[in-house]
Structure formats: structure tokens, C-alpha cells
């Protein structure tokens, strides 16, 4: 182990695992999991490979200003002063001509988002949004409507769960270290994992039961489970009476959705559905129906997620041992962190993306990334002319990137702030290179959970190139736009002291373990009197008046998925343990050695019909878009499904390891950069044809 240990937070994916970095002579010797929080030095392969990111020269090393057409790859290396002046001058022009609301900013979301949120608010724009349109928007909005809780407003008590039912959440491959470890602990303790998916994967391989469901029919399964749980009185009567509204309406609504009905739709036998309902009924309340992680699946996903939330409520899993524990923050103990954002007057302007107006039921907290393109093209509800994409790569994550790119052409200013040459960066006017997570200290964040506290990302080594931390970049931009007073610090240490003011803690308190616990024992609210659901009724709302008042029904009938035309496949994508959002990991030297391209998995019977053998180069087509990718054949995928890993088909030539490797799923997802009722892009409604390249 090195001569210095620095506790910090990983940033190789959005899991933000707590880490400890061993450092020797300003070099990272090794990155481990934080043993105090993970029960060992365990850390997933992406986290381990973070060491390679630090000295990688295939990332932007200085600020860059475009020196040719957008996307031409011609850049001029400039000083920070020149780059920041350029950005500020062009932002001023847009603000003068169109108003502050014409500047929009996005990030990937998460907990470390104060600087960018403060910046966009400080200049007077309401238009912060994040990547969740292509991730968790539908579960976020569904959980808010049912329980008044954010998607991440609960923590899953896996270790004590007796039953974990996952609708396609690939917990052991699209993995977060602590979560995967806890799920394995649950299995070792005798807990049962039930995996429902359209393809077998390594999570299914560990499951007690695996159900290969017909694609797009998950909602029928969820409704049938509710049907049986109510019909056979398997629900938690006390919890339902005390903490829910609309039980009778829910009971009536699910009457037609018998197990026999669901069998026809899902392909899962009625007997299996009844057995599962009884199994979870007997195990209640130590049951988890996982709400989902990336839930940008179908147009009706909002209702699937509402049904999954309802299953948890019926079984009384909220605030139960082995269930869904409602997160408590430091604020609940009277020790909130001071927030930059709360010092800034809120804009009264409507949002560009229609959250709260065109889409009255959708939260503007995360916004609608997919709407920017149509707003740019139509100037409705108003013109947007400047966009700052901060550690967010919409051109590598939103469906149909050519369409998105064509809309971005209308921007007067496109800025990318990132550690990577992202696809969006490649098309932008200015790239402001950020320090990697190993080189920078961020603001303190609240650890929300049953043991509230604080945690901090801290620089482990000095920066390698002419990059800067976000705390400095946004302050410098704010200074140039005359709103520097909202960034009341000269360096990160001052900001941290300001944040912690009144809590009785200081920066030094993070040295020992990397985090601060405010309590010794987990806080569990009283299940009779103490639960706090932030809905209008203070209860779980099967029937939501708030939704219905704006014309959104609480329930919608199950509808069959859009029919699959003969010869076509439904395109399904996911991640693996070695790669996450591709632009963080695909060009990583170590991870690229393991998985340098993606493959398309199809059922061997379908492959036989098409004369396709393992390893053949295939052409995958949708609406004129063609991608080339090698085949893998399997028995354990639904015959209607073609599967590939997301995040490949890199277009940025400076990323030499991943450039041109594999196929892009998003390019095939033509026309799906649209807003489904949950605020999600309905990714999985993409269908493709597949043929062998002669």
C-alpha cells in the first residue's frame, strides 16, 4: 500500500461507490472500495480500472475552441482565460438577445450537482435538466406520484430481504459494488431472487427462479400479481389501511387481470404467477419489488412502475426490515449542509421542456433532455440558443443522435465540460476539460439513508494536464457574468467549511474514514405513526388526485405491445460489469482490453432461419440506419429480441481504442427521442431487421 491513503468517491459510473485511493509519489498505486462502508476493500472492475484514466492522454488536456465546422475535429488549444471569456461573451450575447432562459444546462444527475445547478440558476435560467430521460425518469415520476418519494428516495435492505423480485434490473452485471455484494449476501442468507427478463443474463444465472417474459408485457405480470395478492388476501392489511388511499379502486381495476389473462400475454404460466404472489405474500414485509434503475423502456412504463410501487405498498415493504427503507437526510437531524442553490432567487419563467406546463405531471427536477431538439427546431415555447453539456453526453445517449445533432446546429453556443472527448464535445464550440475524480475535490454531499451523514470526493493526486475542477470552472464563469456573489469561496476548502458551518464538523473529519455518520444506529420510522410520504395525502396513493386533476389517469388498461412485423426483432440494450455509459469506460485502456466491441445476441433458432452463425458480421437495420456488428447465438433469449450492449459505435477518432468499434444502439432507435408519459424515451420500442453481410 502506498504512502498516502485518500478516501473518496468513484466516478467511473454513476454508482458513486465509496473508495480509498492508495497513492505513492503523486501516482495512484491502487483504488479499492472503502472498507468502512463496503465491509471490505471490494470494488468492481470499472472502479479498479479508474487508475488508467488518470494518465490517459486520450482525453482533453487543455481548453479547446473549435477551429473549423462543428464536428470537423479541428481544434485550437487555448488558455483558460481565453476559453472562459469566449464562453461568457457568447452567453452574454444569447442572454441579451433572448433572455436568460435561452441558456440551458444539463448533467448526468446525481448528488454532486451544486455547482452547475447554482450557475444556471444564478444567471436567471430555470433550465437545468439531466440525463434521466434515457434512464430513470419514468420510475422517478411514478414513485413521486405514488409515494411522494424520488426514485432514489429509498434504500433497498437486500441483506435482510426474503424475496427480491426484479423486472429486468440486472443487479449483478449493471452493477454497483455494494448493491451486488448485498444481493449475494441475501442469496447466501437464504433470500430468494426472482429475475424477470426478456433475456437470460448473469443476474438470472444466480436467481432462484428466472422467468423469460414476452417483451413489453411486464405490466400484465405486475397487474396479475396485484390481482392475486388482493384476491387471496395476501396483502398487509394493517399497512394498507393505515398508509394507502385508493385500495378499492385498485382492487376493482385489477379484477380483469387474472393469472390466466397474464399467462396469455407474458408467456409465464398462471400457476407460476399464483405461486410467486403467494411466495411474496408469505414473505412480506421482507420483500423487495425492485423499482428499476434504467427504466426508459416503453410508452407505458410510467404505469408499469406505478404498479411495481403498488406491489411494494400492498406488501407493506416500506420501512420494513428486508424491504424499502425510506431515506433520511442530515436535514432530518437538524444538520443540513448549506447549499449554494438555496441562496439564489428562483426563476419564475416556465421551463423550456414543458415540465409543469405542457407536461404538468412531470417533475422539472430532472427535466426532459429529449425535448431540447424539438424546442430548438420549433422555437416553442421559446428560443433556446446556448447549451452547456456538463459531464453529460446526449449525442451518445439519446435515441437518434443524427436528429439531435441536426437540432443542435441551431445553437449559437454549445459548450462541453467533461473529462472525455464526448460525442457532444466533439460537436461543440468549446471543450472545457475537467479534472478527473482522482484530481479534484468536490463539494460535500449528504448521505441519505437509514444512517444519514456526509461524504466527500477528495483529490488523491495532483492534476496531470491543464484541466480544472468544476468548483473553479463554474465560479469563473459566474464571475464573468456578474453573478460571482453566489459562489462565496476562493477555493474548495472554503466552500466545504461554509457548507459544514453549523454542523459541528470540518473537512478534517473526513480524513479517518472518508465520511461522517451522524448517528450510530439506523433510524427506522414507526410503521404505525411515523412514515412520511410526501404525497398530498401523506400516504401511498394508488389513486392520485394530483395526477387526475391534470388529466392523467391513475390507472390505464394493459395494452399489448406494438406488434412485431415478421422477420424483425425488438432491440434491447443493457450494460455489463466492465462497461457502463460507454464514454466513461469504452476507451479505458484496461476495460477496452476486455470488451472492445459489442455483439448482437439472437436466439439460435432465429439465427438458423437467417443462415447466421456465431461470429458472423451482420447488418442491423432500422428506417434506413444500418449498423454492422458480429453475432452471438444463444438459447436463452426471447426469440423476438436482439440484444446488444449500449455505448459502442464511437465516432470520435481521438479515442483510438473505441473509435469505430462495435455498433451504436442509439442510431438504430429512430424517432424515439420523444416524451412518453413517464418522461422517459421509449427506447425499447425500436425494432430492427438483421441479415448476414455476404
Amino acid at each position: 500500500m502506498g504512502s498516502k491513503r485518500v478516501y473518496s468517491i468513484c466516478a467511473m459510473c454513476t454508482g458513486r461507490c465509496p473508495i480509498v485511493v492508495d497513492v505513492e509519489d503523486n501516482e495512484v498505486e491502487h483504488i479499492w472500495g472503502n472498507p468502512y462502508l463496503l465491509g471490505g476493500y471490494n470494488l468492481c472492475p470499472r472502479g479498479a480500472a479508474g487508475k488508467t484514466l488518470l494518465n490517459d492522454s486520450e482525453r482533453p488536456k487543455t481548453p479547446l475552441i473549435r477551429d473549423g465546422e462543428r464536428g470537423s475535429g479541428k481544434w485550437r488549444s487555448v488558455s483558460w482565460d481565453e476559453a472562459l471569456d469566449y464562453v461568457a461573451d457568447n452567453l452574454k450575447k444569447v442572454i441579451d438577445n433572448y433572455g436568460a432562459k435561452s441558456v440551458v444546462l444539463s448533467d448526468r444527475g446525481g448528488a454532486i450537482t451544486e455547482f452547475e445547478k447554482a450557475f444556471i440558476a444564478a444567471i436567471g435560467s430555470p433550465n437545468y435538466f439531466n440525463h434521466h430521460a434515457t434512464c430513470s425518469n419514468s420510475i422517478h415520476n411514478a414513485h413521486l406520484s405514488v409515494a411522494g418519494l424520488a426514485r432514489n428516495g429509498v434504500t433497498y435492505d437486500y441483506k435482510n430481504a426474503k424475496y427480491l423480485v426484479s423486472f429486468g434490473r440486472n443487479l449483478l452485471e449493471s452493477l454497483v459494488t455494494g448493491e451486488a455484494k448485498n444481493v449475494i449476501d441475501m442469496i447466501e442468507n437464504g433470500g430468494k431472487l426472482v429475475q424477470v427478463d426478456v433475456r437470460w443474463n448473469y443476474t438470472a444465472a444466480k436467481a432462484d427462479r428466472f422467468f423469460m417474459i414476452n417483451p413489453g408485457t411486464d405490466y400484465a405480470l405486475a397487474l396479475a400479481l396485484i390481482h392475486v395478492i388482493i384476491r387471496d388476501s395476501l396483502y398487509d392489511v394493517d399497512f394498507v389501511q393505515r398508509w394507502t388511499v385508493g385500495f378499492d379502486e385498485l382492487s376493482n381495476f385489477v379484477k380483469p387481470y387474472t393469472p390466466e389473462f397474464a399467462e396469455k400475454e407474458t408467456g409465464i404460466s398462471a400457476a407460476d404467477i399464483v405461486k410467486l404472489a403467494h411466495d411474496v405474500g408469505n414473505a412480506k414485509p421482507s420483500v423487495i419489488f425492485h423499482l428499476g434503475w434504467m427504466t426508459a423502456w416503453y410508452s407505458n412504463d410510467f404505469y408499469l412502475r406505478r404498479a411495481i410501487c403498488s406491489l411494494n405498498a400492498l406488501l407493506g415493504t416500506y420501512e420494513a426490515k428486508g424491504g424499502l427503507i425510506i431515506n433520511k437526510g442530515p436535514g432530518s437531524l437538524g444538520k443540513p449542509l448549506k447549499s449554494l442553490l438555496s441562496q439564489i432567487p428562483k426563476s419564475n419563467e416556465p421551463r423550456f421542456d414543458g415540465c409543469g406546463t405542457k407536461y404538468p405531471h412531470l417533475s422539472g427536477q430532472w427535466g426532459l433532455a429529449q425535448e431540447l431538439a424539438s424546442v430548438l427546431l420549433t422555437d416553442e415555447p421559446y428560443p433556446v440558443r446556448a447549451y452547456i453539456a456538463f459531464r453529460h453526453d446526449p449525442l451518445a445517449s439519446l435515441p437518434d443522435p443524427d436528429y439531435i445533432r441536426s437540432a443542435y446546429k441551431k445553437l449559437d453556443l454549445l459548450v462541453s465540460i467533461d473529462i472525455n472527448f464526448s460525442e457532444t464535445g466533439w460537436f461543440s464550440d468549446v471543450i472545457l476539460p475537467e479534472d478527473t475524480y482522482l484530481e479534484r475535490t468536490d463539494h460535500v454531499i449528504a448521505r441519505n439513508g437509514s444512517k444519514p451523514g456526509y461524504i466527500l470526493r477528495q483529490a488523491a493526486v495532483q492534476r496531470r494536464f491543464d484541466t480544472r475542477p468544476r468548483s473553479w470552472i463554474f465560479k469563473e464563469l459566474a464571475n464573468r457574468l456578474g453573478v460571482g456573489q453566489y459562489f462565496p469561496y476562493n477555493n474548495i476548502e472554503e466552500l466545504i467549511a461554509w457548507q459544514l458551518d453549523g454542523t459541528g464538523y470540518s473537512l478534517e473529519d473526513f480524513n479517518e474514514k472518508g465520511y461522517i455518520d451522524l448517528v450510530d444506529k439506523p433510524i427506522m420510522w414507526d410503521r404505525v405513526d411515523g412514515l412520511k410520504f410526501k404525497t398530498p395525502s401523506g400516504k401511498i396513493e394508488f389513486i392520485s388526485k394530483k395526477l387526475e386533476d391534470v388529466g392523467v389517469p391513475s390507472f390505464i388498461p394493459y395494452e399489448k405491445p406494438i406488434e412485431l412485423k415478421p422477420g424483425r426483432f425488438r432491440l434491447v440494450t443493457s450494460k455489463c460489469a466492465l462497461h457502463t455509459q460507454g464514454r466513461t469506460t469504452s476507451n479505458n485502456k484496461l476495460l477496452n482490453e476486455y470488451v472492445s466491441e459489442n455483439h448482437i445476441y439472437i436466439h439460435e433458432d432465429r439465427a438458423n432461419e437467417l443462415g447466421i452463425k456465431e461470429g458472423d458480421l451482420l447488418e442491423v437495420e432500422n428506417e434506413g440506419e444500418k449498423q454492422h456488428i458480429k453475432s452471438k447465438l444463444t438459447k436463452y433469449i426471447h426469440p423476438d429480441v436482439a440484444f446488444m450492449l449500449h455505448g459502442f459505435g464511437d465516432d470520435v477518432p481521438l479515442r483510438t481504442r473505441s473509435y469505430g468499434r462495435g455498433a451504436s444502439d442509439i442510431r438504430l432507435q429512430k424517432g424515439l427521442a420523444k416524451v412518453a408519459i413517464g418522461g422517459n424515451c421509449p427506447y425499447t420500442e425500436c425494432t430492427v431487421s438483421i441479415k448476414k453481410i455476404k
Binding site: N42, L43, A48, E188, A205, R209, K589, L590, Y636
Partner: protein
């Protein structure tokens, strides 16, 4: 005498390759060199679900290491105090005899140095009272660095629990 053994708990292993990545970063193994390996086998249907078996392959640190006998320069050494088989890099001439000799393909080619490198259980860590990087970093804690007799005991206990009619 070989003192150590890496026990792999199949129930906990998820085939994520964290062991390999921790090994590679710890030992600065260049592209192509993998001092330990996870070899996925399967899927095969057992009790209705397709299962995987992820075989963990570090060096076995044999009592009679063929690689040591095959090495013409004395670069491949079995450490007397604990049986760790390792490469003394400055003596290695890159003849690859050890690669030929090892029945399990354990010695790896370091293309950057033109020498052989292999799993030495992270000997420098062992000497500091730590455990090999693969074991320490494993995502789910599926690997355990124990003695061969302890491994036998762990296996027996697991088997006994599995067959016991008295489930917890």
C-alpha cells in the same frame, strides 16, 4: 511448502472480472498478460435456470513446479518459506520454456519487457501482512486467501449446511 490457497466461493462469484482488473492494475500487467483468469463455463440448465460456473485460475504454486524445473537461468524460483513460485525478473531471458512447461498456461508474456511474469500471490503484499489484490478487491468477496486445510474445512462446512435438513 505451499502455505496458501485461494478459495473461490462459486455461490458468490458473479463473473465480473474485478479480480483480473485488480490483479492487472496492481502488477502493471501489459495488454495481453493476465496473471489470473476467470473462465466462464455454461450456461447449463440446473433446476430450471441456466447456471454459470466461473472458474478462477490463478497460479497453483505447485509443490513440484514444472516451470521452475524448465527455467534454464534460475529466474523461476520457489520461495522456501511459503512455497510462492515467482519470477526474478533480472534473471529472465524470455526463453518461454516455463510457458511451455506449465500444464495450465499460468506464466504470462510481458510484451513490454520481453520477459515472463506470473502470479506470485502479490508477494510484496503478503510480506506486508496483506492479501493478494484479486482477493482483496473482489466485488462480492467470493475469493478467500486461506491455507489448503482451511479451504477443506470451508468446503466441508458449506456442503454440510447444504445437505442439512435443518435450514436456518
Amino acid at each position: 511448502m505451499g502455505k496458501y490457497y485461494i478459495f473461490q466461493d462459486q455461490k458468490r462469484c458473479i463473473g465480473c472480472y474485478a479480480c483480473e482488473l485488480h490483479c492487472k492494475t496492481k502488477n502493471n500487467a501489459p495488454e495481453g498478460a493476465k496473471l489470473c483468469r476467470i473462465v466462464p463455463t455454461g450456461p447449463q440448465v440446473v433446476k430450471g435456470v441456466p447456471r454459470m460456473h466461473f472458474v478462477f485460475m490463478p497460479c497453483f504454486h505447485c509443490e513440484k513446479p514444472w516451470c521452475v524445473y524448465a527455467c534454464p537461468t534460475g529466474a523461476m524460483i520457489k520461495r522456501s518459506k511459503d512455497g510462492i513460485v515467482y519470477v526474478k525478473e533480472d534473471l529472465c531471458i524470455g526463453c518461454k520454456n516455463c510457458i511451455t512447461a506449465c500444464p495450465w498456461g499460468v506464466p504470462q508474456w510481458n510484451s513490454e519487457k520481453g520477459k515472463v511474469m506470473k502470479c506470485d500471490y502479490c508477494m510484496d503484499r503478503i510480506d506486508q501482512g496483506l492479501q493478494p489484490a484479486c482477493v482483496t478487491g473482489c466485488t462480492t468477496g467470493a475469493l478467500k486467501f486461506i491455507s489448503p486445510s482451511e479451504a477443506s474445512q470451508v468446503k466441508r462446512e458449506k456442503f454440510a449446511k447444504d445437505i442439512s435438513p435443518l435450514k436456518k
